[in-house]
């Protein structure tokens, strides 16, 4: 999966979780720090993302805290390569 495809998958999971989002997601966007996801939403987001990708993102364990989009793109690209 390319970075662009990963970003599309992340945007889809985010939209499923919180509804339509304003504008487009950039890799510098932090989904938690910028208030797009609270702690409950972050679990739904990860569930939707893994469900859509059809795989478990092993790099995101229970202590994972980095919700910068670029970091999640890195993980998705690595997991799907």
């Amino acid at each position: 999966m390319t970075r662009e495809e990963a970003l599309t998958a992340i945007t889809k999971a985010l939209t499923t979780t919180v509804g339509d989002i304003d504008g487009t997601l950039g890799e510098d966007t932090n989904l938690v720090d910028e208030g797009m996801l609270d702690s409950l939403d972050s679990m739904t987001f990860l569930f939707e993302l893994e469900n859509d990708l059809g795989l478990k993102l092993e790099a995101i364990d229970e202590t994972y805290e980095d919700f910068r989009v670029g970091s999640i793109v890195d993980i998705v690209v690595a997991a799907t390569s």
Binding site: S39, L40, S42, M43, T44, L46, F47, E50, D61, E62, T63, Y64
Partner: protein, 211 residues
């Protein structure tokens, strides 16, 4: 019906109003004509006081929000917000017997149990929450503050159409540690007769301590 106080109680030895009661009383107000389903619910705060339900209306700025739920009919969706009413504690009410049995878990969030309920929407919620709480209680040597926080992706009919007996299964999917609390998202599967509701996601939160 823009704002409606809910007829809720403190059941047994609890010190909070159960989410199942809040959703059950709200479902009675939403009604089932046309047929309606609960799609999602989210609780961010517990209360021992009264609860005000606000239907697709303006949130009262002076009350603390407890959570919200979304119901759906063929005509569309309706969002209900819940707020804590300032005042006395909710009145007490007797506890009810457990509705789940034959409980099994691997101690890591996977579990199953049988249930015997009256087939109503609220009785099904009680069984689900009792079961998922029991699974979480076995996740460590000491597990405290186990709270039902959300359900999503559901199609739970408000009608009394649930199987009266069956089996519940829980499959963990996402876990996060936030501020010292374990937060989980798991899948609930219900086996019963043809009226068993489809799989949905449930979230719980708890504090786990191990020796």
């Amino acid at each position: 019906m823009a704002r409606q106080p809910l007829n809720v109680f403190i059941r047994g030895t609890r010190d909070y109003v159960q989410g199942s009661q809040i959703l059950g009383r709200t479902a009675e107000l939403v009604g089932n004509d046309p047929p309606a389903v609960l799609v999602s619910a989210k609780f961010t705060k517990i209360t021992e006081r009264g609860v005000l339900a606000v239907f697709d209306g303006e949130a009262p700025g002076d009350l603390a929000e407890l959570g919200r739920a979304q119901f759906a009919t063929d005509a569309g969706r309706q969002t209900v917000q819940f707020f804590e009413v300032v005042g006395d504690k909710a009145p007490p009410i007797e506890d009810v017997p457990r509705v789940t049995a034959n409980f099994e878990t691997d101690g890591k969030g996977t579990g199953s149990a049988t249930f015997t309920i009256t087939g109503t929407f609220e009785s099904y919620l009680v069984a689900i929450i009792e079961f998922v709480k029991a699974v979480h209680a076995k996740r460590g040597d000491r597990v405290t503050d186990i709270w039902f926080t959300a359900l999503m992706g559901a199609r739970l009919p408000l009608a009394a159409s649930y199987p009266e007996t069956g089996t519940l299964r829980l499959t963990p999917k996402i876990e996060r540690m936030v501020d010292g609390r374990l937060q989980t998202l798991s899948l609930v599967d219900t086996e019963g007769d043809d009226n068993a509701p489809p799989q949905f996601q449930i979230c719980f939160s708890c504090v786990v301590e191990n020796d």
